[in-house]
């Protein structure tokens, strides 16, 4: 996994279906499978949110407790995990994931997991900018993602955020730079922000 595991001491609580052995076998019955896919999608999103994971590489994640229940000695097979994530990328799955390397057809296996979609992140960023009065100031991308000022911003401004989250990991501090760019791109499109500068020295101005 390419994201650092978050330092939160709180351990992740798995849903009860995680202790149900057939949960780790994709069900042949379509109706059953649909409800199973929903459960997996929710589990993956919750897991990634908890550990602040943005990019999920299935091959390496297969050995983590997300897909492997050591106690039951059950695991989701790579093929089934691919099916689950592929379902998440589709409209019926709420487009809660997106393949980075082409997915199933291209034999890839790395995907964005959108426990927040770029549009939703854009809202979070705009909210933070307004809250802290940073409109029309120029900020570098680096300081936005790694600077101290964004540490724990998710907990400072509870009011504008519809749902506060128990783990305090809703913040974009430490976010994957690529995903951050994508979220900014949403704002640029709405002419709410302007990005300039070269590769590693990018700055952004919010309106």
């Amino acid at each position: 996994m390419d994201s650092l595991q978050s330092l939160t001491a709180e351990s992740f609580t798995y849903p009860q279906s995680y202790s149900f052995p057939p949960f780790f076998t994709l069900q042949p019955n379509l109706q059953t499978r649909l409800s199973q896919l929903r459960k997996w999608s929710r589990l993956i999103q919750r897991y990634c949110r908890h550990y602040h994971i943005f990019k999920l590489s299935l091959v390496s994640a297969l050995d983590t407790s997300l897909f492997k229940n050591a106690e039951l000695r059950k695991r989701l097979s790579l093929n089934d995990a691919l099916q689950v994530v592929d379902w998440m990328t589709r409209d019926e799955g709420g487009r809660r994931a997106e393949w980075i390397d082409g997915g199933l057809d291209a034999k890839g296996g790395t995907a964005w997991v959108y426990w927040k979609r770029p549009e939703e992140w854009a809202e979070v960023i705009v909210g933070w900018v307004e809250e802290t009065g940073q409109k029309s100031t120029v900020l570098t991308l680096y300081e936005l993602i790694n600077g101290e000022m964004t540490v724990g911003q998710g907990t400072v401004s509870r009011d504008w955020r519809p749902k506060s989250n128990a783990h305090g990991t809703l913040d974009f501090h430490g976010m994957d730079p690529d995903l951050f760019q994508r979220s900014l791109a949403v704002l640029v499109k709405r002419s709410k922000a302007q990005v300039f500068g070269s590769e590693d020295q990018q700055g952004v101005k919010f309106f």
Binding site: Q16, P22, T25
Partner: protein, 260 residues
């Protein structure tokens, strides 16, 4: 006098006068009984009324108290929900509103309707994963958690059963079935055949089943076991685990979580 049997024609007269006097006496006894019963009943009804009014809040909020109250009503042969398809408030005087409705102005009655709606929601919401067969206990837990509007409701098994019963007039196919020792709510109008019930019972006892377990324990032929299992799978009533030496079949009732 009556010891002496009349002979000849006089016997007829004797007999008929005797039966008339029996009849009149019987009638007077009956009226006396009836009026005393009527008094008793009206006294009882007003007491029940007072009791229910006084404890309306407790009845609504305390599940065990409610269950006892319902049991008391059952014991004296009053079905609190009888005729409850007629809305109590609207029925007014002389209407055939249920006892709950009459006694409590519809409040407790509404409680069961509200609960029934929740039960339907829970059953519908989990149909994909359990094929429309949900344990009463699991349903209760879900209603207690109350993701819906108005938060959770504190209810007992008894309440759930009553609520499901109150859905009867709708002909909606909701019913209570017994699978082994477990009471379950069946939310789609399909009957389990005996083979299917036996498999579900076996799962209840053993946790899961495999085809060869069925063959060994029930003495079924392989084809029979396979067919029953395939049917159950097709109805979403069991989930299959392929990561075992032999395919294992589990009942989703024991998974017991509904997140969506």
């Amino acid at each position: 006098m009556s010891a002496r049997r009349g002979v000849g024609l006089s016997a007829f007269q004797n007999r008929s006068s005797l039966s008339t006097s029996y009849a009149t006496h019987g009638a007077s006894l009956r009226t006396a009984h009836l009026s005393s019963l009527q008094t008793q009943l009206s006294v009882f009804q007003s007491l029940l009324h007072n009791f229910a009014l006084q404890h309306a809040d407790t009845i609504k909020s305390n599940p065990s108290f409610r269950a006892e109250f319902a049991r008391m009503c059952n014991a004296i042969g009053v079905d609190p929900l009888a005729g409850s398809n007629v809305k109590g408030k609207g029925a007014g005087k002389g209407g055939i509103g249920s006892l709950w409705a009459k006694v409590l102005g519809g409040d407790v009655n509404d409680f069961y309707f509200e609960l029934a709606v929740r039960v339907v929601e829970v059953c519908r919401g989990s149909k994909g994963e359990n094929g429309g067969l949900l344990g009463v206990k699991e349903c209760k837990e879900q209603v207690k958690k109350g993701k819906g509007i108005g938060g959770g409701m504190d209810v007992s098994d008894d309440d759930i059963l009553r609520a499901v019963k109150s859905l009867n007039p709708l002909g909606s196919g909701f019913s209570i079935v017994n699978v082994g020792s477990k009471q379950m709510i069946r939310s789609i109008p399909k009957e389990l055949n005996t083979d299917q019930s036996r498999v579900l019972e076996a799962i209840q006892v053993l946790g899961y089943v495999t085809a060869s377990m069925l063959e060994a324990n029930l003495g079924w032929e392989h084809a029979r076991a396979e067919t029953v299992i395939d049917d159950l799978l097709a109805d979403s009533l069991v989930w299959v685990d392929l990561q075992a030496p032999e395919k294992e079949y589990w009942s989703p009732t024991f998974m017991n979580d509904f997140e969506d």
